[in-house]
Symmetry: C2
Subunit: 322 residues, 2 copies
């Protein structure tokens, strides 16, 4: 068999996704291991190195096949120093030198970036970005993440905090508290968690008939997907909740559009599976709030890679370094 | 005399600023000519070429002294094609090929960019940016302009519309109409014109004592500077007007900070002459609305070059091309 492989790693708080990926971006082998957060996360990097080694043995391959490891990590990183400033979810100490540690453990060169940035690079390379070199990505998951790509490279920012789209303030006064310590962040409204919060607040105050309200009463809880599903089945309360959320998200994306006028703004994460139910109202508010030349030229698109965006973007990092 | 010169040109709706500038950014000779907008602006570029030629003769120099011309123009440009999409204030037809025309007239290579982008490059090179390669600039003048610099280069955007900070929507519903056709743009609040509008609206509804109100009644009009001056003399109405405006501007700059985490955000234009009267409340709201890692690392700074930013940034364009 010909060709070199890249190891793409997407390190999350629950599991680590790994893959061997060809230089053209084709995923050859993909697997997952649990993230062991015990003992301040000291086993995480050894587990990753071991797992890569075992998979190579299993496939009858040697290390010469591998170009290097690219890894997305859940926190702001300093790529030059090879450290992650803070990774609260993993238990690691501050400024943990993950590049040196993983490189020593694996005997391979290692490149890192923030996980949201990796997802953005993946979408640029093989997904909705479709090779566009200037894109903004927003990931609507449990939280809201972002990645900004200018001229084909991630914008890191002076302290690794570029792309913090989830913490753009959309409700300057009286907004809901956010995990970051501020209030009224986009994340409090447009994440899966935020959608549920807004929906519950709205349901409680609503006195009319609604299938979403009925579902909430019968199940005792709802998910973001329920709101889109009920809207799709004609529930007007659900439609008004989604409108309210897309107004805020559309405003933020329009403002990012005015700043960067990117070719595409790619919307990913679990919430983006709503597809056109999300995209149609979002496009309406984007057009309303963006400068005319921006709404005419910056395209909104749903991410296409799903969970593979992170490992592909991580692999892109390693490929383009070496 | 040693060394080559660059011609920096800042083309405005009323006058054209020109300068001969050394490669290290020192301005050697600086002058202005009126902008002749008659006959669809057909005399503007010939006037510029003539004026450069006359000044060279006056100084006893020949064209060999000149590296080229850099010019900032009042509208979105396509740098590759060398055209300005639209320059409503000058009367030029759409997609006017200014690079070819000025190059033919002057016999010199010509580089162009939007005037706000040139001001940003000037501040990066010789002003408040102080060599920082990642900065955002906002110009608070008659309107509000912007320029975004990533890795030392202006972000143009797919249709030249990056940096349209003035048209970021800050009042989603019920905002004042903007010249761009939308409502509630930053420009309607934080430009010199916007400050006057907000001040007048506030004065009319205010029944208490206020030196700003007295000034408005006696003069029949006020300027943005009056609001800062009255605030500085202890007028509480003026202070509340500036607070309200800085809340909106601080929110926009915090959101730009969250997207790009630049080293500096530079505030220029006539309104920025208010200095600390502007910067202090602005910094307060920036800190309130920005993600903590952003407010800790992105610095707000007042532009230092004044009217020279445009010619210096234009010269930088020509210097870095050749």
């Amino acid at each position: 068999m010909e060709g070199k492989w890249i190891v793409g790693v997407d390190l999350g708080g629950t599991s680590v996704k790994l893959a061997f990926i060809q230089e053209d971006g084709e995923i050859l082998h993909k697997w997952e291991i649990p993230t062991d957060k015990s003992e301040q996360g000291k086993n995480i990097l050894p587990d990753i190195a071991d797992s890569i080694q075992r998979k190579m043995v299993e496939l009858g391959e040697t290390k010469e096949r591998l170009i290097g490891i690219g890894m997305g990590a859940p926190g702001a990183v300093d790529k030059e120093k090879g450290i992650i400033y803070e990774a609260v979810n993993l238990g690691w100490p501050k400024n943990y030198p993950i590049v040196k540690l993983l490189s020593d453990l694996s005997g391979l060169p290692v490149e890192i970036d923030n996980d949201a940035n990796c997802a953005a690079l993946g979408e640029m390379w093989k997904g909705a970005g479709n090779g566009a070199k200037n894109i903004a990505c927003v990931t609507l998951g449990t939280g809201v993440g972002g990645g900004i790509i200018v001229n084909g490279d991630i914008v890191q920012g002076v302290k690794g905090a570029a792309g913090e789209i989830g913490h753009i303030t959309i409700i300057p006064e009286g907004g809901a508290p956010c995990n970051c310590g501020k209030t009224g962040c986009l994340e409090t409204v447009a994440s899966a968690t935020g959608i549920v919060r807004v929906a519950k607040d709205t349901i409680i105050q609503y006195e009319g008939e609604s299938s979403l309200k009925d579902l909430y009463i019968s199940k005792g809880s709802i998910e973001a997907k329920d709101v889109f599903d009920c809207m799709n089945q004609g529930d007007t309360l659900s439609a008004s909740i989604i409108e309210q959320i897309m107004l805020h998200l559309g405003l933020v994306l329009a403002n990012i559009g005015n700043v960067l006028n990117p070719e595409k703004i790619v919307i990913g994460g679990g919430v983006s599976k709503a597809g056109d139910l999300l995209l149609n109202p979002l496009q309406k508010y984007f057009n309303q709030f963006a400068y005319s030349a921006v709404s005419a030229s910056t395209e909104l698109a749903i991410a296409t890679l799903g969970n593979d965006a992170g490992i592909l973007g991580a692999a892109w990092l390693a490929k383009n370094k070496h």
